[in-house]
């Protein structure tokens, strides 16, 4: 492990021999939240973690998750200098709303009382919550549009969280580049949360320490794909080593170059890639006729994935046209993913058949 003591140079903490990566196909994500639920039930059902969603899916265009994270700073500027960032609060991270389930379901008042959410800190009506703006999207009627954006920690090659921590509590695992946060070294200063432009680190007010997605490394060590990836029913996910030349993941990122990082301008070299949504619902013309033009504006995609997205979208459309003409298209075959296990090369093991040893923070 590229663990180094407090005071050691950051380069030591970033050192890694190989690196894992993800691809998420946004054309296939249906916003079902199975990935979020898989993650939540596995990692963040402890006291103090109720508000954390290491894996989350929000509607885009929208405020995102945590709310307005793209406006909170962090990461590096165009000169590679650190950009100071802000901290999200409990409402920004979607809160941990409570409901009067007992009253409605068992209180004998089911006919007259309805389910009522309460904000965790105030006990009042919530002003915001996870997926508060679900399916709102953008665009003018009748050409409204949206798509889903699943997000987790990007396990950045140049991780700003790691740079920010004065105690060297955050480091990349030497064997796979996964960014982990050592609970014993964390002082709960939240400098990492400020520095992360994706706001993928969360503060636990009970333990007074930070927590984050660790790419399910206890599973990864047993050759099992992370829970969010394996549980996805839409075959949107690929997971594996980014240098595994025989993998579908490698081909999409490095050969066909159709998978793009989110917000490359944050300067952190994220390792979760996206297939951009390349064909949205067709737009209506003013006279009510259906056009050949998709509803998602290219500038919306460029804001997310940078200037290369236009060429990628064009390429994906051309490849689909090939397939429609009955020609071969390796890119389309890769995107379809007929064999589920090709998407997790080297990580096909079944968690039910493995013994996974790991320590949950805060538990013996």
């Amino acid at each position: 492990m590229a663990k180094a003591p407090p005071g050691a140079p950051k380069e030591e903490l970033k050192r890694h021999n190989r690196h894992i990566a993800n691809i998420i196909d946004l054309n296939k994500c249906m916003g079902c939240q199975t990935c979020s639920a898989a993650c939540k039930s596995l990692w963040t059902s402890r006291e103090g973690t109720e508000h954390m969603r290491f894996m989350n899916v929000s509607t885009y265009p929208g405020a995102g998750y945590p709310r307005d994270y793209e406006k909170m700073g962090g990461g590096f500027d165009e000169h590679g200098e650190p950009s100071p960032g802000a901290l999200p609060n409990m409402v920004d991270v979607g809160d941990a709303l409570t409901f009067n389930h007992a009253e409605v379901l068992y209180g004998g008042t089911g006919d007259s009382v309805h389910l009522q959410p309460k904000a965790s800190l105030t006990g009042e009506d919530p002003e915001w919550g996870y997926n508060w703006d679900e399916d709102e999207g953008a665009g003018e009627w009748p050409n409204g549009y949206y798509f889903y954006l699943p997000r987790k920690c990007y396990h950045c090659t140049d991780a700003p969280c790691l740079d920010a921590c004065t105690h060297n509590a955050i480091y990349k695992r030497e064997e796979d580049g996964i960014v982990v946060l050592d609970q014993d070294l964390c002082h709960g200063d939240r400098l990492c949360v400020e520095a992360c432009p994706y706001k993928a680190i969360y503060y636990n007010p009970v333990t007074e320490k930070g927590e984050k997605c660790m790419m399910c490394y206890p599973r990864v060590e047993q050759g099992i794909a992370p829970a969010c990836d394996r549980q996805c029913p839409g075959r949107t996910r690929l997971f594996g080593y980014i240098d595994d030349e025989d993998s579908d993941l490698y081909k999409m990122i490095n050969v066909h170059k159709v998978a793009l990082p989110l917000h490359p301008e944050f300067g952190t070299e994220p390792n979760v890639y996206y297939i951009p949504p390349f064909e949205s619902t067709k737009a209506f013309a003013p006279d009510g006729s259906i056009t050949d033009v998709g509803r998602i504006e290219m500038n919306v995609l460029e804001e997310l994935f940078g200037p290369n997205v236009e060429a990628v979208v064009r390429k994906l459309r051309e490849e689909r046209a090939k397939k429609q003409r009955g020609e071969e298209s390796e890119i389309m075959d890769l995107l379809i993913g007929r064999n589920f296990w090709d998407r997790f090369k080297g990580f096909e093991n079944d968690p039910a058949e493995q013994v996974i040893h790991f320590r949950v923070p805060g538990k013996a």
């Binding site: 003591p5 650190p82 609060n89 800190l121 709960g188 939240r190």
Partner: protein, 217 residues
């Protein structure tokens, strides 16, 4: 400033509102923001905290000290609103520390070094009457000293728009920690964190380099 010898028991010394403190003059120590921005040593530890410019809002600390021959107590008082709970995720608590060198060459500016460490008594407002015994060997290395029991006693009261905090310790020697003896000087530095200004870590006010602190025989 001198640590006066008094005849008072530990309970009395630990009460920030006892007459043993209130009937004595205190010394005002000016505090300055820690030099983070433009500091190459800080940039190496965290290029993000190096960008800090809005920390260090507490500018003065009022200090008194006393010992009874066995127990050393230092009282700190400063003007501050009370930030003693972390309820929301972007909230921080007030804090204070008293730091001692463990060698003659140890520097308060650098929080000590590998060869010249420092020892600090560190209080956070949400810990109530508990304080950490900390050893540091340079920026970013502060860690709770490992021991079976924490030797630092403390009590804090917030009244009249000020924190009144007493931290103290048995004067007898503890391996790897600051030593104290009546009639001999020690050296000391102070730091304060304003939770309302989201101060934590290196973002704080401090008193500068160690100054001499004689203990009355």
């Amino acid at each position: 400033m001198e640590i006066k010898r008094v005849s008072a028991n530990v309970d009395t010394l630990l009460n920030p509102q006892d007459a043993v403190w209130l009937n004595r003059d205190s010394e005002n120590v000016p505090l300055i923001p820690t030099p983070l921005n433009g500091n190459p040593m800080i940039k190496k530890i965290s290029p993000f905290i190096e960008k800090s410019t809005d920390h260090g809002v507490v500018t003065e600390l009022s200090i008194t000290g006393a010992h009874n021959g066995d127990f050393l107590a230092i009282r700190l008082s400063w003007a501050s609103e009370k930030h003693a709970e972390i309820i929301d995720l972007d909230e921080f608590v007030d804090g204070a520390a008293v730091m001692f060198p463990l060698t003659a060459k140890a520097s308060a500016f650098t929080m000590g070094s590998e060869s010249d460490p420092v020892n600090a008594w560190y209080w956070k407002a949400n810990l109530k009457d508990e304080a950490f015994d900390v050893v540091a060997r340079g920026y970013g290395t502060s860690a709770r000293a490992k021991s079976a029991h924490d030797p630092i006693a403390c009590r804090a009261v917030h009244e009249g728009g000020r924190w009144h905090l007493v931290m103290g310790r048995e004067m007898g020697p503890i391996q790897g920690r600051a030593g104290f003896a009546a009639g001999y000087p020690t050296r000391v530095a102070f730091a304060v964190w304003d939770g309302g200004n989201r101060e934590r870590s290196g973002r704080k006010s401090f008193s500068g380099e160690f100054v001499s602190l004689p203990l009355e025989p």
